[in-house]
């Protein structure tokens, strides 16, 4: 296990190749072969992605800017690394990325940002909500397969993402897969049983805020991977700030993983689409 939370990106963007793309229930799993970047991105770090061709001229003549996506899994492959990105189509950017076919070019900048601190105090508790399961998968790969992840989804179609995990306890909002519950209920039960934990969470703002509040009242350490609309991903635009105790922090360079103690409210405004 490495204590480093950040692997440095080469300067500039580079062209990767889409190696594989497939549906995974309600999501799309895109695998890129990156031969120009480091093979060891850290869980929680992210990349800026843009299709090399036909980026633009989608709905509303967009997308224009690259999209920030945490990698879900990184596997060394020959001279490069295979990077898995889990996406949900929510706008013209993710729509185009979901159309990518094997052999197509993909602009990548990264890995960017600060990932999870992979040296937990107590037992790690992994929590993912929806598409936020992506960096939690990378974290499980890092911490060990025996560390179960608590995963919450809207429905069974979304819950298919849990099949990527070695160990997972699944709940859905509509009860169509696993328990009918919010994942925060599962978190509460685990913390009631054993509070000597470090909680790692990524998911929608309301979920992250609920996790933050649960951990704060129990004095449990938590690391939260947040999301915000980003233009650049490397600190240039100052667009992705979230309010922290120290003032506004740029999620792209000071996050996206923040210690919950730095926040008074993790329910940041929803990311731009």
């Amino acid at each position: 296990m490495s204590g480093a939370r950040r692997t440095r990106a080469p300067f500039g963007r580079r062209r990767a190749i889409v190696a594989e793309a497939r549906d995974l229930g309600a999501y799309r799993l895109v695998t890129a072969l990156d031969t120009g970047g480091p093979q060891d991105p850290r869980p929680g770090q992210f990349y800026m992605l843009a299709a090399a061709e036909r980026w633009g001229a989608g709905e509303g003549e967009r997308p224009y800017l690259p999209r920030a996506l945490s990698f879900a899994r990184a596997r060394r492959s020959g001279e490069g690394v295979l990077l898995d990105f889990l996406l949900e189509v929510v706008g013209p950017g993710t729509e185009r990325l979901a159309q990518l076919a094997p052999g197509e070019g993909l602009w990548l900048t990264g890995p960017l940002g600060v990932g999870f601190d992979c040296e937990p105090s107590g037992t790690p508790l992994l929590v993912g909500g929806g598409i936020g399961a992506a960096p939690i998968l990378a974290l499980q790969d890092e911490l060990g397969e025996a560390i179960a992840a608590l995963l919450g989804f809207r429905s069974a179609a979304h819950a298919e993402a849990a099949s990527l995990f070695a160990e997972a306890e699944v709940c859905t909002e509509d009860g169509s897969a696993g328990r009918r519950a919010l994942v925060t209920e599962l978190v509460r039960e685990r913390l009631d049983r054993d509070g000597d934990r470090t909680v790692y969470a990524c998911g929608p703002p309301a979920m992250l805020e609920a996790v933050r509040a649960l951990c704060a009242e129990r004095d449990v350490r938590a690391q939260l991977a947040l999301e915000a609309g980003m233009a650049c991903g490397y600190g240039a635009c100052f667009g992705c700030v979230v309010p922290a105790r120290s003032g506004y922090v740029r999620l792209c360079v000071d996050g996206p993983v923040l210690d919950a103690s730095e926040l008074t409210d993790a329910g940041v405004p929803e990311a731009g689409r």
């Binding site: 602009w107 233009a231 700030v241 360079v253």
Partner: protein, 307 residues
């Protein structure tokens, strides 16, 4: 002249014609992200700092960004450490950059501007100053830069305070930017840069409320390029001092259009968000195009480029 020899801008030698737009590249953060490779392959021929103000600023509440067709609305609000913080912690690090440094300043009054210009121009690390009279997110910026008389009064006050070149950044949100540019030249400005962002707005499709935390912002990117070209053309026709043209430049061909419109140098802004190395790419492509053009049109073509 050969493009490979670089240019002179207000007496400062530059290795090429490409700067960054103020506030579109944070060299300190980028060094944290990319390491020394950033300095080894620094993408700009001069570096323009984010705008600094006398007092520190947190900037605007999020959300701060909205993607438009071929562009972006930003509402950042000039977050910065303030003059003292800049001089103490940012300037020593910006001085490590391999290119001349331009410091952008904005004051909310002429007194504030005087203090900023005096303090910044005392520092040897600073090659030039840019006066941001044009940020559309801050009310006073709009008032000063939108009016020829206000601009002339400000430049007249500041001109005697420094021997360093003064660049006046023009706002496109003015009735007649060329008149403002001519007023700045008359009051002693050494160069003009334009355009800053155009005022813009977006609504949350779900709630119907304004999307940006500060309600309005500034539009940049290819969406504004045609507007920028016209304004650069109009301003360059009215003044004799060099013009730094910017607005949606994505390629050397775009940059060459700005040169054709009368710009001596250009700046890359929003394109750096898509590609951190964009400035270097634009510079290479522009140099090749201008060499080609110069060769085609002979010495007259090169002189027309005004460097």
């Amino acid at each position: 002249m050969s493009e490979r020899r670089g240019i002179e801008l207000c007496g400062v030698p530059l290795r090429g014609r490409v700067l960054n737009g103020s506030g579109t590249f944070d060299a300190i953060a980028a060094h944290r992200v990319f390491g020394d490779e950033l300095y080894e392959r620094f993408p700009f021929d001069a570096f323009v700092s984010k705008t600094i103000t006398l007092a520190p600023r947190q900037g605007n509440p999020p959300p701060r960004l909205w993607e438009t067709p071929a562009g972006l609305i930003n509402s950042i609000g000039l977050p910065n450490r303030g003059l003292q913080g800049f001089l103490a912690s940012d300037l020593p690090r910006l001085a490590e950059l391999p290119v001349p440094l331009v410091v952008s300043v904005m004051g909310f009054s002429l007194d504030e501007l005087e203090r900023l210009v005096r303090a910044v121009s005392e520092r040897d690390e600073v090659a030039m100053l840019e006066l941001n009279f044009s940020c559309p997110n801050v009310e006073t910026g709009l008032i000063m830069g939108a009016d020829a008389g206000e601009t002339a009064r400000a430049v007249e006050r500041l001109r005697p305070l420094t021997e360093k070149p003064l660049i006046v950044k023009l706002t496109p949100n003015a009735t007649d930017p060329a008149a403002v540019g001519a007023a700045a030249e008359g009051a002693g400005a050494d160069a003009l840069s334009l355009i800053n962002t155009l005022k813009g707005m977006a609504f949350d499709p779900r709630s119907g409320r304004p999307w940006l935390g500060a309600v309005t912002g500034g539009v940049s990117g290819p969406a504004v390029r045609a507007v920028a070209l016209q304004q650069v053309h109009a301003v360059a026709a009215r003044v004799a001092i060099p013009v730094i043209g910017m607005g949606g430049i994505q390629s050397g061909r775009d940059a060459a259009d700005f040169v054709a419109a009368g710009a001596t140098a250009v700046a890359v802004g929003t394109e750096s968000f898509r590609d951190p190395e964009a400035g270097a790419r634009v510079g290479r492509e522009l140099a090749a195009l201008l060499e080609e053009r110069g060769a085609e049109s002979g010495a007259g073509g090169a002189a027309r480029l005004g460097a």
